[in-house]
Symmetry: C2
Amino acid sequence: MKLTIIGTGLIGGSIALKLREKHFIDYVYGVDRNEQHLTDAKELGIIDEGSSLEYAVQNSDLIILAIPVDSARKLLPTVLDLVNEKQTVMDVGSTKAGIVHVANTHQNRNRFVAFHPMWGTENSGPKSAISDSFTGRAGVICDKDDSASDALKMVEQVAEHLEMNLLYMDAEGHDVHTAYISHISHITSYALANTVLEKEREEDTIFQLASSGFSSTVRLAKSHPEMWVPIFRQNKENVLDVLNEHITQLRKFKSALEKDNYDYLEELIRNANKIRGILR
Amino acid sequence: MKLTIIGTGLIGGSIALKLREKHFIDYVYGVDRNEQHLTDAKELGIIDEGSSLEYAVQNSDLIILAIPVDSARKLLPTVLDLVNEKQTVMDVGSTKAGIVHVANTHQNRNRFVAFHPMWGTENSGPKSAISDSFTGRAGVICDKDDSASDALKMVEQVAEHLEMNLLYMDAEGHDVHTAYISHISHITSYALANTVLEKEREEDTIFQLASSGFSSTVRLAKSHPEMWVPIFRQNKENVLDVLNEHITQLRKFKSALEKDNYDYLEELIRNANKIRGILR
């Protein structure tokens, strides 16, 4: 089977590596505006050849859009224009309402499957791709009834070969949940990095002291704006809701400290500890 | 050499395991109000025997206070009362100004060394102890000139056997830095957990969707109030400073989103990305 990955970065690259390893695909076209990424992806065995969008799409069974969510949204109609009723197009973006909205106006809507593999790192580019990234993670298919059954089946097989736990949601619900589970973590991490960079001028001290707790909390702050600005933009309303709630929660800690109300501080912490029962 | 650990939990237990493995100590007394911890610590080979405080201290070369910072501060004078000029007492707490203040009024001040190994996990108790925890982490000795040279040498050897990178600071400076590098991370993590628990009622969805990013950001929210309320209390002023700055930073993200100012959002993220150059 032949695959096109549009975007040969962290996610597209990791998927291609794994699907090839599993013999689900045997030929990969890479489409990327970044020539260096194409060169790297070929060297790393992620793609067999770099190609034009048209050629790659017309010669593939499966086309994966693995570019920032704003670019994916813009490019989807062009890709859907090119496919026939035997081909499948999927995306891997972290927001879904926007791209599904675009898809819904296209005559080939049913060739598209909205997919979100819940994995990422703070790194980007083909050199960051890791084939085993997705194992045991959640993979979400949105608005499945709007996809043709064979296209849906194709993406379900992709998720299976990636060893993901498959979930089904509507696109709107997905975007609410990811605001909580993923997008807010990035904002708090960015803000925490900026806090430390603003107030702690002794960079050398940060480097020497940084504990494992700090590093894991701030890790996401290394993530690039090319990917994250479009996500925040597309999921603006949900992200603002969660951000407002988060600021409210932080103010409770502030108030407890300011008033020396350590019983309240303990109560806030005990409540937070409940996350232990929910997260592994 | 004989060691007493007062508190047989995560930190005390991990230190004892490592020092024994390195043959730096050959006998360990455990002092703990929690009988189960003593039983577990003995079973795990962390201690050789549970003991009364008096007996343990009087028969040890080195005494490590590894209990919450408020308890350590209260107990230190009792321990210093019991030691002679050949014994060394050290603590491992995350705040330093408080305990050093107490130590400074004691006639045996110079037998005490204020030490902070910059490592921890969200877990507690002897069962969480791991001997290799400290390797490559920062270990901070505070106000070293107030300790006798042989006591200082002893703690430097401890840090060496724990394979830590040793740093020297004054206690006040230490507490400012740890507010940035450790304490604020815990508050943001607690607040993030509370945000999600408040707004995301579908616990099952949290569990199924939680991405690696979310898990690493919220991991610290599992940390117990018994340890953290005393830390926040002792480092109140510094923590409040950093918390206020953090809320200010979050408001910038909020404002950028509300005003659809995506250039500003990108600028905020690019600034946060600078942490990449500082943290590994």
